[in-house]
Assembly symmetry: C2
DNA sequence: CCAAAAGTGTTCAGCTTACACCCATGA
DNA sequence: TCATGGGTGTAAGCTGAACACTTTTGG
């Protein structure tokens, strides 16, 4: 009899919200990369029903020991082999019919990846593929909405925060950087003015090395210097393109 | 025997994710108002354990028939009587210990309210209170983080989208509007230049009526004209303060 | 030598910033 | 009449957009 009373008490203490409903929670990742002058997404064929075999973002269900952030990071590492990737939550999707299987909430993250650094074997063995932003196939559920929203977010953010460098190799040229911005923003920039603008912030370090793959003259390599950027923003300036 | 087989099939179809974990999901609202020249938050004393009686944001558990958006709207209506309020999701909080009771994810929204329009009796009867932004008491769980993040979001957004007007009465004066921006941005603006800037966008309609409560000369009332704003932004311009 | 990409220089309109100054009126 | 907040005017300087021009080099 005493044991019975105890068990009630324990339940009372540990289950504050017993009468409230619970939900499946997924974490989906919109993974951006930049390669051969094109902005791309890493997509995969879904491996389980419903809609098995259709194109999809990467994701998984949130596990009890994870935060959303760590869940997203786990997914990213699983598909690209990368750790400590630029990753940012942007929206939680909750429409009632969004997953035709059961009710699932999905918290969406976008990731910015240096494609060169990814583990190509890993990506390939999982049946994942980098696909140009202008060429996205039909996606499952509301994944196209997620892609659209992520695009809007980076379109805005890349103008005020140094996001672009997350998508380029350590060493890059100014014309390359400009092309990246043009891909994200979806319009041409004046190269004289772009160059002046980015150099005026003094956050790039020029290297004594040229990339001759795209022109005979060759373009100098630069690196993004985080310390210079911190100095720049701490003296009250804002990154802006 | 046939019934048994059927029941297995039904389970198989309707329970795609049976083995996955489920979570409580809360929706919390950071409710902003502007009154007597001060930016304020609507806060409440928590009515259930854990931390019963402590200051808290408004929120509730997501119900099965709701989206996150409609849940936030339900909470808002419950505490203010208002419908169709400006409401925007900004982050989903998922730290493991965030609610000491049980694991709960919380999706946070911020709302911008015209305090004058709220149902004061409703607010009062629920033990809710408008508290100046500089005077926030200790809040439960990670609610202070939510407030901080919401502040950052509106600090940024109010400069590029006409959010401010959601916090003011239909009719307001330029000095009033300026004070609001100063409260949000946390620094003084030059009033000559502020006035020129806001009027140059031609999104305000001047009324033949003055507010004499703050000065002897009186300041003209204006209204924010949505049609003029749409025209303005459709001709390729951006709202900016 | 030419084409084509990389990189520099110059102009000008328009906007921001800072601040001086006028206006209206209740006490 | 004067203190106070509302509101206007303007000059200096900076910035962004446009574009002409120079440099480099492989074919």
């Amino acid at each position: 009899m005493h044991l019975f009373v105890l068990s009630i008490l324990v339940k009372k203490i540990s289950a504050y919200y017993a009468e409230e409903p619970k939900y499946f929670v997924a974490v989906d990742c919109v993974i951006f990369g930049f390669d051969k002058g094109k902005l791309k997404l890493l997509l995969v064929k879904r491996f389980r029903p419903p809609e098995k075999g259709e194109w999809s973002l990467m994701g998984d269900f949130l596990q009890p020991t994870e935060t959303l952030e760590s869940s997203a990071q786990r997914t990213l590492t699983k598909w690209t082999g990368l750790q400590n990737v630029f990753l940012e939550q942007f929206y939680c999707f909750s429409n009632l019919g969004r997953d035709p299987g059961e009710r699932v909430l999905s918290v969406a993250y976008y990731a910015l990846i240096k494609i060169d650094d990814t583990d190509k074997k890993l990506t390939k063995s999982h049946d994942a593929q980098w696909i140009e932003i202008g060429n996205i196939p039909k996606l499952i559920f509301d994944h196209q909405d997620m892609v659209n929203m992520a695009m809007e977010v980076i379109k805005h953010k890349c103008r005020f925060e140094p996001l672009g460098f997350e998508l380029l190799p350590e060493q890059f040229t100014i014309p390359q950087l400009q092309k990246l911005y043009e891909e994200i923003l979806q319009f041409k920039l004046d190269n004289a003015n772009f160059r002046k603008k980015i150099l005026s912030m003094k956050v790039l370090k020029k290297l004594n090395k040229k990339d001759k793959s795209l022109s005979k003259k060759g373009a100098y390599y630069y690196t993004f210097d985080k310390d210079m950027y911190i100095k720049y923003s701490e003296s009250g300036n804002f990154f802006e393109i």
